[in-house]
């Protein structure tokens, strides 16, 4: 005789989908707090191999040199530019340091910001210091493209 209980139906329930975004910095911070940065062997810290891959991705992105303060500062200081939340997210994640880099991140850039695009780029560069990856320019074709665009 087999007795079944309802508890053997292990159905997962989504209680609240998308409770709120986490900035890339916060995910990196979370992984750091679990010890991802401190374990060179990568077997001692309670971090799964897949989590280490996320850590590796984020540590090579703009998030690596960001802080809670710098993100808060940027969100406050970019208010005059009336950017949408998605545009702000894109800027924080990509950290554009020139006109051509910020162009695909903002819709109707010229008609909305006009002259103040350079100002906005200045703000980005000033609030978010470059990570080691981003301060290596490639000399060759790049100069021509950048000047044309």
């Amino acid at each position: 005789m087999v007795l079944s209980s309802s508890a053997t139906e292990f159905v997962m329930k989504i209680l609240k989908e998308n409770m709120g975004p986490l900035t890339n910095f916060e995910v990196l911070d979370f992984l750091r707090s679990r010890g991802a940065a401190k374990d060179p062997t990568r077997v001692l810290a309670p971090v799964a191999p897949s989590e280490f891959k996320v850590y590796d991705y984020l540590v090579h992105s703009a998030a690596c040199s960001q802080t809670r303060e710098s993100i808060t500062e940027f969100v406050a200081k970019c208010k005059p530019y009336k950017l949408t939340k998605s545009e702000i997210t894109n800027i924080i994640n990509i950290r554009p340091s020139s006109y051509v880099e910020i162009d695909p991140l903002i819709e109707n850039l010229d008609s909305r910001l006009g002259e103040s695009v350079e100002e906005l780029v200045e703000l980005v560069v000033q609030v978010f210091p470059p990570s080691s990856e981003q301060s290596k320019p490639d000399e060759n074709e790049s100069k021509e493209l950048k000047d044309i665009m």
Binding site: K13, L15, N18, T23, S86, T89, V100, E141
Partner: protein, 209 residues
Amino acid sequence: MVTFINLFELYFNSVNMFSLTKLEHTLRLQPHLLSLPLNEAIKGELEGLFVDKVIANLGLCISVYDIASIDGGFIFANEGAPTYTVKFRLIIFRPFVGEIISARLKESNADGLRLSLGFFDDIYIPELLMPEPSHAEPDSENKGQVKWTWLFNDEKYLIDGYDEIRFRVQNVKFPEIPKEQKELKPFAPMEIIGSLASDGGLGPISWWI
């Protein structure tokens, strides 16, 4: 003096490729785990179940963020292990349409490009969403692969996979699990379709910096 503002609240109604989702799941804890503190044992089980797995129409689960509550602990008749109902939050990866992401080249063939983030590599840039005009040449070093080149102002700009490639998220798909394995390629439960079309700024970073 900078007051600490919870980034969560600051960002409410905002978007990012990462977000928190609250779930409830009922599981049985095997006896050999009962010597561990309950929280740890449950967390371990949840991680085994969810981390690095795609939840259909939700996204890829990155980590177990925290456990809100653990209820139960009853042992049902005919079972040798206690059952718990757990409420917890997962960090979910699911880019939004319009998000700009940097990735590495994984494959380059006649259909377009395949990109990877390391932890996720089912990102496709179809031929139609390549910068215009682009054309492909067979890659002498890699059989079946091609090298894509963008022609602009009489100059050729190569996508060689050396540096990061920035793309715009066009669509995020959750294909249905096929009944039969039709193709050689393993089934991808979540796919990101990206675009490199722009007035400048998308594509390999070396083109612009």
